[in-house]
Subunit: 358 residues, 2 copies
């Protein structure tokens, strides 16, 4: 388990986020993202009790339990998942101790070769957005002038209500550092229709405005330093995975701005893909929230890419519904159950996605 206090920046791999994500999905042969949603009363009781004995009934105990749990899950799923998605809220619930555990969990995921999408759904205006971008994916100025990463995630989820202009600081930071963002377009909750599905006077719905906003943010990122240079044909192929255009199937050029669409909304796929032919779709809600492989299939693009399918509770709490035997050395049983759950999920996805990259 990592120890606190190392902090600081890390060198980012070359290439834009859209391309890095495509590489991870192709390399791992997996469009799976594992959501880390730690809730104290759903964690293995022995793990929580051990933290309580050592750190008392304290925020510190909760944070230590989350870190141990998250790291073990990460170790178990790293070979099978392209990314992890820690949900900031569950860590923030334990104040600065929780945020410490979040940062250490992110660093551990990076050590295991996973991309990290911080699910924080941030948005604000002007220099406040800059601060949020620094906090999640960027680097923050220190006294004396040095820069260092606070969280250092590879991407962050953002909220569209304040408009494109308010999100530009995220895009500039993302483009400069090879990071990404996922704009919330259509959420999985039952009450989401209220704003997102409201019909507009000019046709379409409010969530279409958000999708259009994501498209424009990607166009904005095109011109930023850090975005890949044009290929030999003068065209930017940001996600072409090193293939020379014209010599074979060219991967689509995914920009750094993706969208979040609930995995339980297959009816949205065709229309949103039309607005966003070259964006990554982050699809949370697979498993515990009711979506299955057939629901996410329509979101994949013709190259079998462009969709990152996220499951949280059905993976990290799989141990509760399928208890394994007592620990015999090696990974803890809850981590083995999580790995088995990802394997099942991959099998389900591969059964329906014929064009899935293998």
């Amino acid at each position: 388990m990592p120890q606190p206090g190392t902090g600081g920046s890390r060198v980012q791999p070359a290439g834009g986020f859209g391309r890095r994500l495509a590489e991870a999905v192709v390399t791992k042969r997996s469009p799976v993202c594992v959501g880390l949603d730690p809730v104290l009363d759903r964690l293995p009781p022995g793990l929580v009790e051990a933290a309580r004995r050592r750190y008392g009934r304290s925020f510190e105990a909760a944070a230590r339990a989350f870190l141990e749990f998250g790291c073990a899950i990460i170790d178990a799923v790293a070979p099978l998942a392209a990314a992890v998605k820690p949900q900031s809220a569950f860590y923030e619930r334990y104040g600065h101790r929780g945020v410490w555990a979040l940062g250490e969990t992110v660093r551990h995921a990076h050590r295991r070769g996973l991309l990290v999408i911080l699910d924080a759904k941030r948005a604000d205006i002007g220099n406040t957005s800059e601060a949020y971008a620094d906090a999640a994916i960027g680097r923050s100025p220190l006294p004396g002038g040095r820069l260092a990463a606070a969280c250092g995630a590879d991407a962050v989820t953002v909220n569209p209500y304040l408009g494109e202009e308010a999100l530009r600081p995220f895009v500039l930071q993302a483009a400069a550092l090879g990071k990404g963002l996922f704009l919330v377009v259509r959420t999985s909750n039952p009450g989401s229709d209220e704003i997102q599905e409201a019909p507009l006077a000019g046709g379409g719905r409010v969530c279409d405005l958000a999708a259009g906003l994501a498209a424009r943010l990607n166009a904005l990122a095109e011109g930023e330093p850090g975005s890949p240079a044009p290929g030999p044909d003068g065209v930017r192929h940001r996600g072409d995975l090193g293939r020379t255009p014209g010599t074979g199937p060219c991967q689509p050029g995914y920009g750094p701005v993706g969208v979040v669409v609930g995995a339980n909304r297959p009816e949205e796929a065709a229309r949103l893909r039309e607005i966003l032919p070259r964006a990554w779709f982050l699809l949370p809600g697979y498993g515990a929230q009711g979506a299955g492989a057939a629901d996410v299939l329509p979101f994949f693009d013709p190259d079998g890419l462009g969709a990152l399918v996220s499951a949280s509770r059905s993976i990290i709490y799989a141990f509760a519904s399928a208890p394994t035997g007592p620990r015999q050395g090696g990974p803890p049983p809850y981590a083995l159950a999580a790995r088995a759950a990802v394997e099942r999920m991959l099998f389900e996805l591969q059964a329906v996605t014929a064009r899935y990259p293998r």
Copy 2:
């Protein structure tokens, strides 16, 4: 300056948040909210340099500088302001150290008798919203069963894009603990029209949907435990400040759910007041963002209440444009400049708001 590690919960004063805010405004004779937006390169250089000497070029140094700065501003403005509004982003920029400084700043504001509105613009779905509500205004479950507050703010700003249902956990937490929330309806940034002003097929604009959502959340809070009992006439007078209905001017009953509207949007006042006759309007952007007293006047209700006017940079960085002499003991010059800036703001507001409570 407070020391770290005390953490824990505090007993909340009785009464709903809307009423507590009304009491603070009437008692202080001030509808002023001071925004705490600490940015390292705008802080007094001597303060930052002292932190750097003691804590190095580190997140810790930034966090310590923010805490010292925030506490001195709070000490200076406490008699003149109803509330402070720390902006979470600027603290999050420094990771867990920054979040520690935020928590200590909140506790210091409470010790000085100020209400604290955490500006975090959170929203998510289901149990994630619960976690955000716990983190900002509620109490979090600890290993072994105890509850303790992470941030312990009195209110938090939230985002409407995910709909009413997604925000219910915030309302339930607020109603149970006498806390509040401010729903973002209309922001001050130039690009905010894109979503917020989009005309709807059924008439009105998207931000009207958000305003209606705030009204319904307030209605939801009515029935929750913790909301004040009906008065002797059987009617709930949640903000009546102890006056008996029928014996004098009855203060309006403000619920725990207010709205955020940019102070530079006076044209919104009449329409939004119609939708929300009994809600608190938090009006950020006074001063540095260009809004003046005449702009916020239309938001006050007939009782001279219902509007909380927030200024950040024009107050906390007033020292930079109006340098004071060297320190002669007593509060630091930047704090005195902040107090003078609040005095000017109050004078401007009182000059135009004839019905202002005195």
